[in-house]
């Protein structure tokens, strides 16, 4: 049972890390703020989501698991809103503030 949990963890955390890598490459390579934000949202939502999913089998008890899910939800919320705010600023003031 523990082995199955470990395999699940390795699979999902690796998949999450892949999204982090892709998002980081996008952040560095994309030409303007809006496309860079687009790359970052994948990291927040999918990348961290997969990492949290992978860590759930390793969590200590129900509360540990709930804390992990809460962290993911909070990062999603703040990530989405900060992205909106940055995009709004770019729209009003241009890419250089």
């Amino acid at each position: 049972m523990k082995l199955a949990f470990d395999i699940l963890t390795i699979f999902f955390v690796s998949a999450g890390a892949l999204f982090f890598l892709a998002g980081t490459v996008g952040l560095i390579r994309f030409p303007d703020p809006l496309t860079r934000l687009h790359a970052l949202t994948k990291v927040d939502n999918l990348g961290l989501g997969l990492v949290v999913l992978g860590l759930l089998p390793q969590a200590t008890g129900l509360f540990g698991a709930l804390k992990l899910v809460a962290i993911w939800l909070l990062v999603q919320l703040s990530g989405a809103i900060v992205t909106q705010l940055i995009a709004g600023t770019v729209r009003h003031h241009g890419p250089h503030g």
């Binding site: 909070l74 919320l77 703040s78 809103i81 909106q84 705010l85 709004g88």
Partner: protein, 313 residues
Amino acid sequence: MTILSAFDIGLVVLILAVGAATIAKRDAFAAVIGYVVYGLLLAIAWVRLSAVDVALTEAAIGGGMTGMLLLGAVARLRLAKGSDARPSFPVRFAAAALSALVAAGLAIAVLSPPEAIPTLAPMVMENLAQSGLGNPVAGVLFVYRALDTLLEKVVLILALVGVWSLAPDSVWGGIPGLRVYAPPSSTLTFLAQLLPPVGIVVAIYMCWIGAKEPGGAFQGGTVLAAMWLLVMIAGLKSVPSISQRWLRLLVVVGPVIFLAIGISGMVLANAFLAYPPGYAKPLIVAVEFALTLSIGVALGLLAAGPPERVQPQ
């Protein structure tokens, strides 16, 4: 070489690189962002050293709060006229020499530790049970070195008074010049309505759990301050003027309760800042809650800056 030591080496290289980049950046804004990233990386390093209490404080204060204070300073510098003028060469040279001196001193202290490292850790762990606390860091902060902790909080108030006294006489006791972004029903308003209830629960949790696991008044207080600032920046609550009595009471309530319990210890437990046997934990938790509130308000006001306008009559 295990994966973990490879991770550690990578982390150290990254910290050094970000530190160097922060120093090398010419633009103040970019340097502050570098500093915040540096703080967050340091927090991970503290976790790797199993110092989770320090990691939480570093992330909250080093990365978050100091970052916000510095960003405020950068914004003020931009507004101030003539900020583009570079300081003269002797000034820059003196600053660089002093910084290098401090860095060299720290490096010597860290790189040449004494042969047998003096440690009180085993004694702390042996006697921790008497206090009823489970977190040795909280034990050191509130039992063995309570005087240091008390003075730390007083220093925070002194820092706040220092910031306030930057105000011109005409606006003394007025409203701090926090920049308020208040476009109606923006996404920021939404965040400022949704996040504070969660944040307040997290702050109370961090303060409460601090007695037996990593966490504590400073970490909880920083979260409280962040929530308060969010509500004020979004324009949901106006920034209070610093002459409000309730505000000043909140700033001092933590240290005052700490001091009162410390003085009552002279009568009840024969020493200043000693706790009567059996009552250590409840008293410490009470002090921590009051301190969390005071630290939250003090940090929020520090970030809000010196008063800039007078309260309309």
